[in-house]
């Protein structure tokens, strides 16, 4: 039971972060929820081994990102119709600043959807999870050169589809 308890503690501590990353990867709440569940079931099936190795985060990340790419391969998730429209409606009472922020978020979401899952994963790992190129390569199981080229391609595509995201290009 100790293993189950430690797993529950880990999930309780990391669920919010994993859910947020999954949302950025999938762009859909329901899919993000499914992705987190599937990844955690995988983690639970090997929890003793994972927890014995120390920090579970690298392994959990790896499962999450590989599961996402695997889903995409089986089915082009980017083309999947949404179960419910994203919450993009803007109320009349919000301020101009809020309207501007909402527009930007919408633009970011649409721009992210135009990326391949690998490119999106690279962006999320690098700019959301703050991982280095080496750490990103370890999670994705590829070379640092591949991470660099995926980052470059992803940013180029973002620049083409959403020029207003100029700031992103200036990041590390």
């Amino acid at each position: 039971m100790a293993a189950e308890d430690s797993f529950r503690d880990y999930v309780a501590a990391r669920l919010a972060g994993l859910s947020r990353a999954a949302y950025l990867l999938t762009g859909d709440r329901h899919l993000a929820e499914d992705l987190v569940q599937q990844a955690l079931i995988q983690v639970a099936s090997r929890w003793e081994k994972i927890s014995a190795a120390g920090d579970p985060d690298p392994y959990v990340r790896r499962v999450l990102y590989h599961q996402h790419v695997s889903w995409w391969r089986r089915r082009r998730l980017v083309d999947r119709p949404h179960a419910e429209p994203p919450d993009t409606a803007v109320t009349d009472r919000v301020s101009d600043k809020a309207v501007s922020d909402k527009d930007t978020e919408l633009t970011v979401r649409q721009a992210l959807r135009r990326l391949t899952p690998r490119q999106r994963a690279v962006l999320v790992l690098r700019y959301f999870e703050d991982l280095t190129e080496v750490q990103t390569a370890e999670v994705l199981g590829c070379s640092v050169g591949t991470v660099k080229s995926n980052t470059r391609d992803a940013l180029a595509r973002l620049r083409a589809t959403a020029p207003e995201l100029e700031d992103l290009r200036g990041a590390r």
Partner: protein
């Protein structure tokens, strides 16, 4: 700014709802994985153990043996999916030890089955109503009626010049004796509603050189047709039998010079006497073996046909007269002599039970009897042809091979794997739907 943009976007996502049995689901997944590993290990182990055996079985089924084999002591019916000679990917089965005929194949018509000296089984498709052909002495070719030579080592078929019914091979295996019909193309019927040979247009007897295809007329227009021909062991004489008279009501034997066709003698015999077959000459060339019966000869009903009692007799090769030494068959019906064993025992095909299910076996009968079965056959086998070299060598009692399940045409492999392919497709589709 960039991190904040992603953070703002990620803020839209509340913590994912998780099922209460998340941990249990993980345990179940672990159990399934372990079972999968165990099954895979068992499968790999089984393949490691079984593959060499299967490969050897397949090799035995597909690759002709280097050396000459023997006549198998028993044959089996082919599988429903058995490959035909030369059919991909099974390929040809190599030289045949024997060819038998049965309608218990996927064609549901009489089909030849070549049993190779390597133990292979291959089908020989026959046209509707096609009679039985001859196997060359080396077992390499099967000569079909119509003089199509099927190469059993490649599956290729070539047409000999002309047409006709193959009757016998010369002792040296070089020439094929053929009865060539001269009748009109239309079928004429006599009083008994059986198609007749027109006595005004008797058949010719032609010898064809199997290597060059050269045709040589041995006899022109002597019998309505040729039902049996036998080359003397020294190759100098040919004995033939055929019907004579309008309606094929008579029967005549004739012995002629093999080179010139000059008749040495001819004799009209009753329909109850028949030359035994291509091995009718005794090994010393002095006598002819005759299969005779007592009983009804024409328009027999089933009871009359079954009431026939058969005997093996010998006739003087210089005159055709019976020598009066008869060996009574206790039961069954002799069909066709194919050779001699040890220069003493006549080897012939034999129907053990004419009243029962059709079955033809190969037996040997010595001067003192009783006869011995050389090749056991299952019910449904209607005829046998054995390679002459094996007959002369007396190489009987060889291993009894079973038809290989792997010697199958491509469509059989596709059919066998289709359920697994469909299952795999279903699993993939199901997994995709679950995403």
């Amino acid at each position: 700014m960039s991190e904040r943009l992603l953070d703002d976007l990620a803020d839209e996502m509340p913590p994912a709802r998780l099922p209460a049995d998340l941990w249990t689901a993980g345990r179940r997944l672990r159990q399934r994985r372990r079972v999968g590993y165990a099954v895979a290990a068992v499968v790999v182990l089984m393949l490691v153990v079984a593959l060499p055996g299967l490969a050897a079985h397949r090799r035995a089924a597909l690759v002709p043996a280097d050396g000459r084999g023997g006549v198998p002591s028993r044959v089996e019916l082919p599988h429903f999916w058995q490959a035909a000679v030369g059919q991909w990917p099974a390929g040809a089965g190599g030289p045949a030890a024997l060819v038998y005929f049965t309608d218990r194949t996927r064609y549901f018509e009489s089909t030849g089955v070549a049993v190779g000296v390597s133990g292979s089984y291959r089908l020989i498709y026959q046209d509707i109503g096609e009679g039985e052909g001859l196997l060359t002495a080396d077992g390499r070719y099967y000569v079909r009626p119509g003089l199509r030579m099927l190469d059993l080592t490649t599956g290729d078929e070539r047409q000999l010049p002309g047409a006709g019914q193959p009757l016998a091979l010369s002792p040296d295996g070089r020439e094929l004796l053929v009865g060539v019909a001269n009748d009109d193309g239309v079928i004429s019927y006599g009083d008994d509603a059986i198609p007749d040979n027109d006595p005004d247009k008797p058949d010719d007897l032609v010898a064809i050189d199997l290597r060059t295809g050269e045709r040589r007329f041995v006899a022109v227009g002597r019998l309505n047709s040729y039902s049996t021909a036998a080359w003397s062991p020294d190759g100098t004489r040919i004995a033939v039998e055929g019907p004579v008279g309008r309606g094929d009501t008579g029967r005549r034997w004739s012995v002629m010079d093999a080179r010139t066709g000059a008749p040495l003698w001819s004799l009209d015999v009753p329909l109850t006497q028949g030359l035994s077959g291509p091995a009718a000459w005794t090994p010393d060339g002095r006598r002819l073996v005759v299969f005779s019966f007592t009983g009804c000869t024409s328009t027999c009903d089933q009871a009359g046909y079954l009431a026939r009692s058969w005997r093996v007799e010998q006739a003087d090769a210089a005159s055709g007269l019976l020598l009066g030494e008869a060996m009574l068959m206790p039961s069954g019906e002799p069909v066709r002599s194919i050779g001699w064993q040890d220069g003493r025992d006549l080897v012939f095909t034999y129907r053990p039970d004419p009243a029962g299910e059709a079955r033809t076996t190969l037996v040997a009968l010595g001067p003192q009897g009783p006869f011995r079965t050389l090749v056991e056959t299952p019910a449904g086998v209607s005829g046998l042809a054995v390679a002459g070299d094996l007959v002369r060598a007396g190489a009987y009692g060889g291993p009894a091979p079973s038809p290989s399940i792997w010697a199958a045409p491509a469509w059989a492999y596709l059919l066998a794997t289709a359920p697994f392919l469909l299952l795999a497709l279903w699993i993939v589709r199901r997994r995709q739907r679950r995403v």
